[in-house]
C-alpha cells in the first residue's frame, strides 16, 4: 500500500475516533449512565487506543536511518 494511502487511512481512523470522543459521551445512552463504566471508562479506553495506534504509526521512526 502506498504511503499516501496509508496516511489517508490513518487520518480517517483518527478523525472518526476523535469525533466519537466528542459525540458518544453526549448521546442519551451514555449521558444517563451514572456509573464508572460510562463516560469515564469510554474516554480512558479512547486514550489507550490512541496511544496504541500512535505506537504503531511511530514504529517506523528509527535511529539507524537518520544518524546525524
Amino acid at each position: 500500500m502506498s504511503l499516501e494511502r496509508q496516511r489517508l487511512i490513518w487520518v480517517i481512523v483518527f478523525l472518526v475516533m476523535v469525533l466519537s470522543a466528542f459525540i458518544v459521551p453526549f448521546t442519551p445512552l451514555m449521558s444517563n449512565l451514572t456509573k464508572f463504566y460510562g463516560a469515564f471508562l469510554f474516554w480512558s479506553i479512547f486514550a489507550l487506543v490512541v496511544i496504541i495506534f500512535l505506537g504503531m504509526i511511530t514504529a517506523r521512526w528509527k535511529d539507524d536511518q537518520d544518524e546525524r
Binding site: V11, A39, W43, A47, L48, D63
Partner: protein
Amino acid sequence: MSASTVYIALFIYFILGSIVARQAGRKLGGGVNEFFLASRSLGGIVAALTYSATTYSAFMLVGLAGFSYIGGVGALGFELIYLSGLVLVAFFGPRFWLVGQRYNYLTPTEMLGDRYESKAVAAVSAVAAVIFLIPYSAVQLIGIGALLEGISGGDIPYLAGVGIAAFIAVYWTWTGGLKAVAWTDSLQAAVMLVVAVLSVVLIAYRGFGGFGGMFAGLESEYPAWLTVPGPGFFNINTFVGLTLPWFFFSLSNPQVSQRLFVPRSLGQMRIMVMGFLVFGFIYTLVSILWGFSARLLIPELAIADNATPVLLGLEIIPAGVALLVMLGICAAAVSTVNSIILTLSSMICRDVFKNSRKPNDENRELLVGKIFVPIFTVIIVAFATIRLDLIAALSVASSAGLLVMVPALIGAFFWKRGTAPAVLASVVVGGLAATILQYSGLKPLGYWPGVWSGLIATVLFIGVSLFTRPPEKKATEFISYLQEELGRKKII
C-alpha cells in the same frame, strides 16, 4: 503548614535543581543552537520528560482538578482529547525534525518565515506568540503565589511566592539554556508524577478505602458527575469551545513544537512521543481523581480552584505528602514558565532581531536571546503582580489565540498554494478576534472564542492565498524534499 517548612522545602528543591542545571550546562558550546536547542541532541527519555513538564503546568492539579470538582467527568474528556492531539505530532513531528535538520531552523516561526519567504511572517508570528504566552506564564506565577500564600495561612506573602518561582525559572534557564531546562524539567517531571500518584493513592485508600470506594461514593452521592453534561458545566458548547483549541496545542504552542527540533534522531523522537503519552495519561487520571476526591470530601467550596489547596490541608494527607504535592505543583509551573521564556527569547533573537540586521553575527544574536531571558521574566513577574483582568482573559485566550498559527503550519507542509499575506491575515485577524471575544465575553451563536478564531484563521488563510502569489519555488523544494525523505524512510 509553617512558612519556614515551605521555605526550606523550596530551598532544597532549588539547590537540587541548580546542581542538575550546572551539570547539564557544563559543556555548553557558544552558539544559538547549543543554547536554545541543546545542539539538537537530546535523548528520547529526557526529551519525553521535558516535553511532559513543559506541557503540563500548575493547571493540572489546580485548574483541571477544579474542573472535575465543579463539572465532573467532562474534565477527563477535555484533557484526554487534548492528549489525543498528539496524533498531530505523528504526522508533523518527523516533518518538523527533517526540515529543522536541513534548514537549521531555530524556531517554528523561523520555519514559517522561510517557507513562505517572508520575514514579516516570522516576526509577526513571533510577536503573536509573545502576546499570548506572557499572560499564560504570568498566570502560572499567580498560581504559585496564591498556592504558597494559601498553604502557609498567609505567612508567605503572595509576591514572595511569585518572586521565588520566577527566580528559580530564570536562574536555571540562564545557567545552561535548553540543556539545563531539559534536565531540570526531567527532575521536575519525575517529582510531579511520583507525588501525584502517591498522593491520589493515599487519598483513595485513606479517604474511601480504595478507588472502588471513591467511585461508589460518586455513584451514590454525585451520580451526575460521572456524565456529561452532568452537573451542567460541560454542556456541549463549553466542551467543544474548551477542547478544540487544546487539541491543536502540540502544533500551535511554540514552546512544545520547538521540541520537535531537538531529539537527536527520529528513533529518539518516538521515545519522546510515547513517553509523553504515558506520562500524560497517568497525570490526567490523577488530576481528575484528585478533583473527584475533593468533591466527596469537601463539597461546599465556593471556588473550584481552591479544591487542591483545601484538600492538602485535610488530615488524611500527611503533612510530608502535602509538602511534596505543593513542590510538585511548583515544579509543574516553573518547568512550563522557563521553557516558555527560553522559546520566546529564541524567537526574539532569531525572528525579530536577526531579521532586522545585516550582517548576521551569531554571538550578538545569542547575546540578545540571553538578555531577553531575564527581560521576559521581569515582564511576566510584572504581569503577575498587577493581576489585571486582561491577563486572565489573555491567558485563557492563549489557546484560542495560538490556534490561528495552525492553518499556516499545516499549509507549510501540505499546500503549495499558501502565501505570506494569507499567513499574516490569518494570524493578525484571528488573534485579534480571539482576544476581543475573550475579553468581551461574547460568544456569537453560542460558540467559544477558540471555535471562531480557528474558523476565521482557516477561512482567511485559504481565501487570501487564492488571491495572492505563492512562493512557488520554495514551496516545491520544501515539500519535495520532505516527500523524498519520508518516502525513503517509509514514514507516512
